[in-house]
């Protein structure tokens, strides 16, 4: 099975016409393409950064509010300026982009414009044909971020092609802290991580952060990788973000995750954050020895207490976050979980947050916990402490 084509899609700044791109995204993923969606009202700079980090094959832009010649060309220009010549730029904008416009745009490096009335299958076929499997070189000599992005692609592709790359020894750069986030869908993991990133960037004006985020997909099918669209604070020059599809693997991670994580952990970031797909919590998704701390993010609305007994992750996580604590059930949830954790024999922390609330103090506390100088007892894989030590942070 060949590796799926990865493209990035977005709508330009001051433009909220997203109906066309939403439909096109859906159509792409139905036909095996993985789409990293950056959202609407996006600066050229954010599109370029994301395209490079995600190392997509092409960038698809949907523009309706005018200024498309300038905008498409700006994206091409910024890519070239950074030495990228193997990420194509294509797109559409219904009838607002004329044939004349297209001629100018193509002359200046835009690959293709789809006019009003193009059939959806026409576009899909074109992407398959044009951006299908093909050799892309390594990026030796390019800036570190670009090399890193390409290496991640090579790892992912190797797994997709059925090869199992040799696992290098698990080691990481000194000073790198790896934090794993997991939890059920709808608990607000993505928002929480983005709010943490905002704080981490503020607390230290030189820290660098890597994020490895996951969305579900089935073997041979595409995926919508949409976390970037909502992670507004993470679109930042000091943040390296990579979106991965699970490509058929259960448990919330991709077959290539471990190797990718190792690479990131060795790349000199201060924090490497890894986020699973929303999962059932029956097991620990992070088998990696590299993960220093695991955070389980829960929704106060998990159902009955009985259910709580089944959540194995409650025994294994270092920090349990009850997010959306503005919900009515939050208080009950906190005390039920607290009681549930008391039986455990390891040191765990329980935090309550409202990540969607600006400057939420709960998220501040979580950030404190995650940035505390490390003690040896903090790692999940350490042997259990003698007594239950639950702290309500």
């Amino acid at each position: 099975m060949a590796a799926p084509i990865r493209v990035l899609t977005a709508v330009p700044i001051c433009d909220g016409h997203d109906s066309a791109i939403n439909t096109i995204n859906l159509e792409f993923i139905r036909h095996g393409i993985e789409v990293v969606y950056l959202g609407y009202h996006r600066y050229a700079q954010d599109i370029v950064r994301a395209a490079i980090q995600e190392d997509v094959r092409a960038v698809g832009i949907s523009s309706y509010n005018g200024g498309h010649v300038e905008f498409f060309v700006e994206v091409v220009k910024q890519l070239r300026k950074r030495g990228v010549d193997d990420i194509a730029v294509f797109g559409g904008g219904g009838g607002t982009i004329t044939h004349d416009d297209q001629r100018v745009m193509q002359k200046r490096g835009v690959d293709k414009i789809f006019f009003a009335g193009t059939s959806l299958t026409g576009m899909v076929d074109w992407v398959h044909e044009r951006y299908g499997p093909g050799k892309r070189g390594s990026r030796d000599g390019a800036p570190a971020d670009m090399q890193l992005a390409r290496k991640l692609t090579q790892i992912e592709d190797a797994y997709a092609n059925g090869k199992t790359p040799r696992k290098p020894a698990a080691k990481k750069s000194s000073g790198t802290r790896v934090i794993g986030f997991t939890g059920p869908g709808g608990a607000g993991k993505t928002t929480l991580i983005d709010e943490l990133v905002l704080r981490l960037l503020h607390r230290d004006d030189s820290s660098r952060i890597a994020i490895l985020s996951h969305d579900p997909s089935v073997v041979g099918e595409g995926a919508l990788l949409g976390d970037r669209a909502t992670m507004i604070n993470s679109q930042h020059d000091r943040v390296f973000m990579r979106s991965m599809a699970t490509r058929g693997q259960a448990g919330g991670l991709s077959p290539a995750t471990e190797d990718c994580l190792q690479l990131l952990a060795q790349s000199g970031f201060d924090y490497v954050i890894i986020e699973t797909v929303g999962t059932g919590q029956e097991a620990m998704p992070f088998q990696s020895k590299l993960v220093d701390q695991t955070v389980l993010v829960m929704n106060p609305d998990y159902g009955a207490r009985l259910q709580l007994q089944k959540i194995v992750m409650l025994d294994l996580a270092d920090i349990i976050v009850v997010n959306k604590s503005d919900q009515e059930r939050a208080k009950t949830a906190m005390s039920e979980i607290e009681r549930r954790l008391q039986g455990n024999s390891r040191e765990q922390q329980l935090v309550s947050t409202v990540a969607k609330r600006h400057r939420d103090t709960g998220v501040d506390r979580l950030c404190d916990l995650l940035t505390q100088p490390r003690t040896s007892g903090e790692t999940a894989s350490e042997e259990p402490k003698g007594r239950a030590r639950l702290r309500r942070a």
Binding site: D18, S19, G66, T98, D100, A116, K356, H358
Partner: protein
């Protein structure tokens, strides 16, 4: 149960009530006779008009029924135009031409409302500025004597404030009443200053650039903002409260503080539909709603002639929703606003009449009756779930024909599409209407096509006899009734689903409306390319040799864009100290529970739009986009 749940109950109860009354009129002889007498009285009082051919016709057509039960059902379930539950119209005579020699007094009703039709800027002269024209809206106005105003809403927004101002004056030169409709450029719609990085090329594109109170003064220069003949409409939502504050600041500077209660006009401001469909939200939803309701509370108390929100389904429909979704989300958004206003202790009879609606009209069969049903649900919900009186029960609506139904292939066919949609809009008794230009898929409409679009309305209303002689001319056919029943049931089902998700807010947080709209939009496009949905000249009767037509595109010159940046920088330098103070005060108030609109008005005197938005975002955060 949220108010929406009560609305569902209210409609169900009302329908049961009607059926019980029907039965009663059939079994209780006295009651039945009363209904029959009332019916005969109504019929006897209908004036008779004369068509140019000499044909005599009643000015209100009624079904040919004479049995007590049928009469009861008609009067209660549908109502006469202008009477609860307003199925047939918010007003008694809507588009009828004035009687030459009225033989019977028909009491007061609004003739022409705030414009029975919108002749767009291009209808007489002038090059259309379309971006905006495409999404224009008209607010139905408070009752006033018939024909007090021309129905024309001059719609403009291009380049810089002085350019738009010149356009306003040019188009309004021969008009008694000045009714200006303003479109803003992208940076303004998103609350970004013209001097911000990365937006230079967007300055003045598709609408007018407004950064400061000085721009606002230039924009309406030469118009008497307090005159009863003047009204301003502003198509903006994300930063609406700030733009509103800037408008008030500009008016005060020109005419003194006493101008405020006299200001007349409307601002779109509907934030729910931004989150659901148009994507111009700039603050987190709760904060956006707080700023909006702060503004609405202020205008309700201090500006009795202002319409502070235009509850819009147009954007929902254009984003690809089904017609039922459009109506259901728009109505539920409206009820949610009403609930918020009531929660602030405002009287439903004060704010209710200041709520108005804006709907889309496409070619799907639901549009035979979508607006009619919406009017009925709104009236019942407002009366029985909110305790509203007559004026606050009326669903006053501006309709725009569907832009999305217009396609590039053999684009002149768009004239026919729009004509059919206009017909549907008027069959639904819209209070005002905007017809899109045939060049809609390509560019901001040009003079030629705007003129044809406006004439389409005139041909329907003035030239043809379809709507001008008799109310109810096309209401109540068996087919229309069937659509009404099916659509009403489907809307109530949507309400129930929203209620299950915790009301409008809960559904929004669950991305419910967005994902429903996206799924519908995807299906719509698939249906086009699979041929299920015939689109003439695109997937049926296609001309393979068609050349793409060339249109002249409007562009703002760089020199003008630079001028806007320079002026803004000067303004900021001049007001630097005062701006900082005003922003600090604003930030302080926003941290409390107080109404922050007064502080916003103060800030608008000395701060730019971008400065205010940035500071507010520091306090309340930025909107986290939903995809």
């Amino acid at each position: 149960m949220s108010k929406l749940g009560r609305v569902v109950e209210a409609v169900e109860n009302y329908n049961t009530f009607v059926e019980n009354e029907v039965k009663r009129s059939r079994t209780e002889k006295k009651f039945g006779q009363q209904m029959v007498d009332r019916w005969n009285q109504i019929k006897a009082n209908i004036p008779i008009g004369t068509a140019p051919t000499g044909l005599k016709l009643p000015r209100l057509a009624l079904p040919e029924i004479d049995e007590a039960g049928d009469i009861t059902r008609y009067l209660l379930a549908d109502g006469l135009p202008g009477e609860f539950p307003f199925l047939n119209g918010a007003y008694r005579e809507m588009y009828l031409e004035p009687m030459q020699n009225p033989t019977i007094e028909t009491g007061t009703y609004e003739k022409n409302g705030d414009g029975k039709k919108s002749r767009l800027n291009g209808s007489k002269n002038g090059k259309g500025n379309g971006a905006s024209a495409a999404h224009n809206r008209l607010a139905p106005a408070a009752p006033k004597p018939a024909q007090a105003e021309e129905p024309t809403r001059l719609f403009s927004g291009l380049m810089l404030a002085e350019d738009t101002n010149a356009r306003f004056h040019f188009l309004g030169a021969h008009q008694r009443s000045k009714r200006l409709s303003t479109a803003f450029d992208g940076p303004t719609l998103y609350g970004i200053d013209s001097d911000a990085d990365g937006v230079f090329g967007k300055i003045g594109e598709g609408g007018v650039a407004v950064d400061t109170v000085e721009d606002m003064i230039r924009l309406y220069d030469g118009f008497d903002l307090g005159s009863p003949d003047f009204s301003a409409s502003m198509t903006i939502s994300g930063p609406a409260p700030i733009i509103m504050a800037m408008y008030i600041a500009a008016a005060k500077r020109r005419f003194g503080p006493d101008i405020v209660p006299k200001l007349r006009g409307t601002i779109q401001a509907d934030i729910f539909k931004e989150v659901q469909a148009q994507n111009e939200t700039i603050f987190p939803v709760e904060a956006s709603l707080r700023f909006l309701t702060d503004m609405m509370e202020y205008t309700t108390r201090n500006m009795p002639r202002w319409y502070p929100v235009s509850i819009s389904g147009y954007h929902i429909g254009e984003a690809g929703s089904t017609p039922v979704q459009q109506a259901a989300y728009t109505l539920s958004n409206g009820f949610a606003y009403a609930e918020m206003m009531a929660a602030r202790g405002l009287d439903v009879n004060d704010f209710g009449p200041r709520l108005s609606f804006f709907l889309d009209c496409g070619l799907d069969v639901e549009y035979i009756a979508l607006t009619r049903v919406s009017r009925r649900i709104w009236a019942i919900g407002m009366r029985d779930a909110f305790g509203a009186g007559h004026k606050a029960q009326m669903f006053k609506v501006h309709t725009q024909t569907s832009g999305r139904s217009l396609v590039a292939a053999e684009f002149k066919n768009n004239l026919t599409r729009t004509a059919a949609e206009l017909m549907l809009s008027y069959m639904n008794g819209t209070n005002s209407c905007h017809s899109n230009s045939a060049d809609e898929p390509f560019t901001t409409p040009s003079e030629e096509w705007i003129r044809l679009a406006a004439h389409g309305q005139a041909i329907l209303l003035d030239e043809s006899g379809i709507f001008k002689h008799t109310m109810n001319m096309l209401s109540g056919s068996p087919g229309m009734k069937a659509v009404e029943r099916a659509v009403e049931a489907a809307i109530l089902e949507e309400f129930r689903e929203i209620e299950r998700l915790g009301g409008v807010m809960g559904a929004v947080e669950n991305r419910y409306q967005r994902s429903q709209i996206q799924t519908a939009a995807h299906r719509y496009e698939q249906q086009i390319y699979s041929g299920v949905r015939p689109i003439i000249a695109l997937n049926k009767y296609r001309n393979e040799n068609e050349e793409m037509p060339e249109f002249e595109l409007a562009r703002t010159p760089r020199s003008k864009q630079q001028l806007q940046v320079d002026r803004l920088k000067k303004f900021k330098a001049k007001n630097a100290r005062k701006a900082e103070e005003a922003l600090n005060r604003l930030a302080e108030v926003v941290e409390t529970d107080e109404n922050c609109f007064p502080a916003l008005m103060e800030a608008a005197e000395v701060c730019s739009l971008g400065q205010i938005c940035e500071r507010l975002q520091e306090v309340v955060g930025r909107f986290r986009p939903m995809v």
